[in-house]
């Protein structure tokens, strides 16, 4: 094919630069502002593009044992346990549904896929959680969202892609279903498990709505704290250090909370990014 014209090339480059800017500049501003000194923030009208005198004081304050530290603990615990529980339950169900001839496999599959089309609705779900006495229990943040149908379909598709000969060989060697799952299927499915794991992690880490309706404020995860103090503009009073008199400007603290809420995602993301296309596609195409 002929080479693209210089004009086309320049237009493309410009589009890419603008694109990257649109995503990256907001992050830069948030991180910079969280590191800026009070004087600089005030002088600059609430935000800083590049701090001249970076300080970690805002982070010191939010980590010194107040609302934010506590919420961070809740979020980490919830994300780790929730992801493990979800991943385990999704894997088992996806495996059972991926094998031909499992008793009741077909009806169960239909049953599961139907929920994708017709979710129960917010009010019945709310009544159910309340009726089961899970209000202000962390179970209310995990059980109702235990399995995501999309993730289930992705895993099932991946399991079905494993060559049938491997299953037969294992069965001839006398391996049980569990042994086949743990010794053969799971090691071969690392890419899909990584992607689905990341999806679950993100959804637990990012969740705030259920916490806002089911949980007392002392048990809130980080996103709900973020919502109240950063979006709602409430002052983060209880930082544990407020009596020290050297309190950061509210903007820097808010930005620091925002950074803390974002960083875990940024940390996991690069490791899993290479699996995205593969994992998402096997699921999307098979379904």
């Amino acid at each position: 094919m002929e080479r693209p014209k210089p004009v086309t090339k320049a237009a493309k480059a410009a589009a890419i630069v603008i694109l990257l800017g649109l995503v990256l500049v907001p992050f830069l501003v948030i991180v910079s502002t969280s590191l800026a000194s009070n004087r600089e923030v005030v002088a600059n009208g609430g935000w800083v593009l590049w701090p001249s005198d970076p300080t970690l004081r805002a982070y010191d304050q939010i980590f010194s044992g107040g609302v934010v530290s506590k919420a961070l603990g809740v979020s980490v615990g919830l994300t780790v346990l929730g992801t493990l529980a979800s991943l385990a339950c999704t894997t088992f169900l996806a495996y059972a549904l991926s094998r031909p001839g499992v008793f009741g496999g077909r009806p169960v599959l239909v049953l599961v896929l139907f929920t994708f089309l017709f979710p129960p609705g917010m009010i019945p779900a709310f009544l159910l959680v309340k009726g089961m006495g899970m209000v202000d229990s962390y179970l209310a943040l995990v059980l109702p969202v235990l399995i995501n149908v999309f993730n289930l379909v992705v895993l099932r598709g991946f399991f079905q892609g494993i060559p049938e000969e491997l299953y037969e060989a294992a069965r001839l060697d006398g391996a049980s279903d569990w042994a086949i799952l743990f010794k053969i299927v799971l090691p071969l499915s690392k890419a899909a498990l990584a992607v689905v794991g990341l999806f679950y992690m993100c959804s637990y880490w990012n969740a705030w709505f259920h916490a806002s309706i089911y949980m007392e404020s002392t048990h809130w995860p980080l996103q709900q704290v973020l919502r109240t103090y950063v979006m709602g503009g409430a002052q983060i009073a209880d930082t544990g250090l407020s009596e020290a008199g050297n309190v950061s400007a509210p903007q820097t603290m808010q930005m620091a909370v925002l950074v803390v809420a974002t960083v875990p995602i940024l940390l996991v993301y690069p490791f899993l990014q290479k699996y995205f296309t593969k994992g998402v596609l096997t699921g999307a195409i098979k379904s």
Binding site: G46, W205, Q273
Partner: protein, 284 residues
């Protein structure tokens, strides 16, 4: 299999049965089953409630806006990415544009506030340059645009994945054949690229139409307060406000059920249309 199955039975089908509350006047003290039946009263009330129709109107308006302004963006972006010749650049740009998808709506909305609010980044820059400042956050007139911009910022990059995959499956030989026949870049795009990704475009369009009454619950809920229900109320926030905040449980459940039923009908209808167009659609 059992824990997973139990989950679906309890939290989907169990909850689903709870929709009977739409036909009752829910009395918290009596619980769901002992509350009195009221037949279709909740639905009668709903259909004559201007607030309900207002929320429905807002929902449809925002959905149509997204269909027009959001839907083509991932396709265009995928075409741009696909045309990059350097693998390294391509992968880097992809990593960056996928990223916002993984941030929570709380973070995205907070980011937009920081950048676009009265005292935000944009106005500071405009002010320093001696230009007119603009009020975007909390301005009802700007709200629909803001909402669509947020959706594009958050998910357009992620949305490219499926189109990129479709583009990769377009047969290279067809391009060459077209080029030999004298087709320029535009003609190749029109006659080879677009037909190649047509099935995926239609599939996503069907899904989107089925989902048209669901326009980003969390995103709307987070911002409903700042612009007021006049423009910020959609069906999901209406259900939330009536039922969970207001305690008008039966009424809210009726609105939710209405939304669910219409949604299912829309999926079936959109899928039928896809079949008519000779495409696979979501299911056979």
């Amino acid at each position: 299999m059992l824990p997973g199955l139990a989950y679906f039975l309890v939290f989907h089908y169990g909850a689903f049965i709870g929709n009977v509350v739409a036909f009752k006047e829910y009395v918290p003290f009596d619980g769901l089953w002992a509350s009195p039946w009221v037949g279709l009263d909740n639905f009668d009330r709903m259909f004559s409630d201007p607030d309900f129709w207002h929320a429905t109107g807002n929902t449809l308006f925002l959905a149509v806006l997204q269909l027009i302004f959001y839907f083509p963006v991932p396709i265009a972006l995928a075409l741009l990415l696909h045309s990059l010749t350097s693998d390294l650049t391509k992968r880097f740009v992809q990593s960056v544009v996928y990223l916002p998808h993984f941030l929570s709506w709380v973070i995205v909305v907070a980011l937009f506030q920081q950048v676009l609010a009265d005292t935000g980044l944009l106005n500071e820059v405009l002010g320093q340059a001696g230009l007119h400042t603009v009020d975007i956050i909390g301005n009802p007139d700007a709200y629909p645009g803001l909402v669509v911009a947020q959706v594009i910022w958050k998910d357009a990059g992620w949305g490219t994945i499926i189109f990129l995959a479709a583009l990769m499956q377009v047969d290279e030989q067809q391009y060459e054949a077209a080029a030999i026949d004298g087709a320029g870049p535009w003609r190749r795009f029109w006659h080879v690229t677009l037909p190649g990704i047509r099935p995926v475009i239609i599939l996503l369009l069907v899904l989107r139409l089925g989902d048209i009454l669901t326009t980003g619950f969390e995103q709307m809920l987070l911002q409903r307060q700042s612009v007021g229900p006049e423009v910020g109320e959609v069906l999901d926030t209406f259900v939330f406000w009536q039922g969970i905040v207001g305690g008008d449980t039966g009424y809210a459940a009726a609105a939710g059920l209405f939304k669910g039923v219409v949604g299912v009908i829309l999926v079936f209808a959109a899928n039928k249309v896809a079949h008519r167009l000779g495409e696979q659609g979501v299911y056979k």
